[in-house]
Point group: C2
Chain length 251, copies 2
């Protein structure tokens, strides 16, 4: 691996460093929209790595949407317009921060409850198992935008305090640092519902007004469902997603 800027930090696998180098080149404008990158064999020589290592890096760049690869034609920088659109995408939760607003939260409930049939079904555990329930009002710039009701399966019946959450600010940070539960994947669904009397009061909207109803099952890096969460968001909220692969069939 040569040509990576000389005195740069040389940490991590070669292909990851190569990803960074090439991405910087693209974002720095070295390659315009749809401009061809050097061939894989040339890149291998330029960066003094094997062709398979180059291919590994290019695969990651393609998955991230930075480049596209056409069999028999070459490898090209993705158009900046598409790159720009993609930059606004992320998980529903990620999405919050893209607004540049100040997030906040009020903890409405923190308790240990037995799993209902519904929650137990979602988490694939036996009903009645003791779960930690965390219900929060989410704020943006002090204004309520959603209610989150999370049921967390903490191993060993451990639990945490309201103070801990308020200090750390993030539920996931707490789960990772204090309980070693690393979220690895989430299954989400989104639909519409009407505000109940309680929703209406919490979110400061009229009873019966439409809300975005979202469910999430979070799966840990130990490959088990660890959290079931129901969220209701005011209609100013938007969910964004990137769907890869061919949209199939009768759309």
């Amino acid at each position: 691996m040569v040509n990576d800027g000389g005195a740069r930090e040389a940490k991590g696998p070669l292909y990851q460093r190569l990803v960074k180098v090439i991405r910087d080149q693209i974002e720095g404008g070295d390659f315009g929209d749809n401009q061809a990158l050097p061939s894989e064999r040339d890149l291998a020589v330029q960066h003094a790595v094997s062709r398979e290592t180059v291919r590994k890096a290019l695969r990651l760049l393609e998955e991230a949407g930075d480049i596209y690869i056409d069999h028999g034609r070459g490898t090209f920088a993705a158009p900046s317009s598409v790159r720009r659109m993609r930059r606004f995408l992320g998980s529903f939760s990620d999405d919050t921060r893209h607004r540049g607003d100040q997030p906040g939260q009020n903890i409405l409930a923190l308790e240990v409850v037995p799993a209902s049939f519904a929650v137990a079904g979602a988490l694939n555990i036996e009903p009645g198992r003791r779960l930690t329930r965390l219900k929060r009002l989410r704020l943006v710039n002090g204004k309520p935008i959603g209610v989150q009701d999370a049921y967390i399966d903490i191993p060993g019946e451990l639990t945490f305090t309201r103070k801990q959450i308020e200090e750390v600010g993030s539920l996931y940070t707490l789960l990772i640092e204090h309980f070693g539960m690393v979220p690895a994947e989430a299954l989400e669904s989104v639909t519409v519902c009407l505000a109940s009397a309680e929703d209406a009061e919490l979110l400061n909207v009229a009873e019966g007004s439409p809300l975005l109803l979202m469910e999430r099952v979070t799966i840990s890096d130990r490959h088990v469902p660890v959290e079931y969460c129901v969220m209701k968001y005011v209609k100013e909220y938007t969910y964004k997603a990137r769907i890869t692969g061919k949209p199939s069939g009768n759309v």
Copy 2:
């Protein structure tokens, strides 16, 4: 590649055939929940391929959620409960068919229109460019469930007829087969809106009732935005998604 069932079809790359073999084994119950698969080196010997080929297959199986791989520990069959949940996921559009219902459509408009500023912005083209507009009422079991308003940038100002759509049934099939436009990726956003008078009449709901409002920009395999589509769905509809990667930050 040996042990692939003897007289099976031997088409396609080795690693893809290996994916199929291992997936069949898992779905056939050869490996229970979280049961370890043979090591990569063993799998390579068993199937008479190189270890890199095995790794390529395992990577695909992991991305599909069939297995999980833990560094230093081994490779394991994903729990069937998680596999089952994932099976219900797909793009918003895919999702329709999982219900086992009969889809249908009424074409409300098929015309050539100049791109508005908004549509031009979404497709990254100049305003005023002539686009094909296709507005359809989507049905499930004869009942209206949504309105889709699509703006398609067909190269060379070609267009298609109402009859063609009705014959083919699928807009994407038509785009692929008649215009060589292969959808490769989609960027979607979902939020809530209220039914306009027109929406209400089309969808047979009260004016002002909540709808799921969805936007989509489809990007072709030529890596340019080719379709902008606004969809409004009745509240019985649900959007499902799988979010991979660590949910980040202040969720």
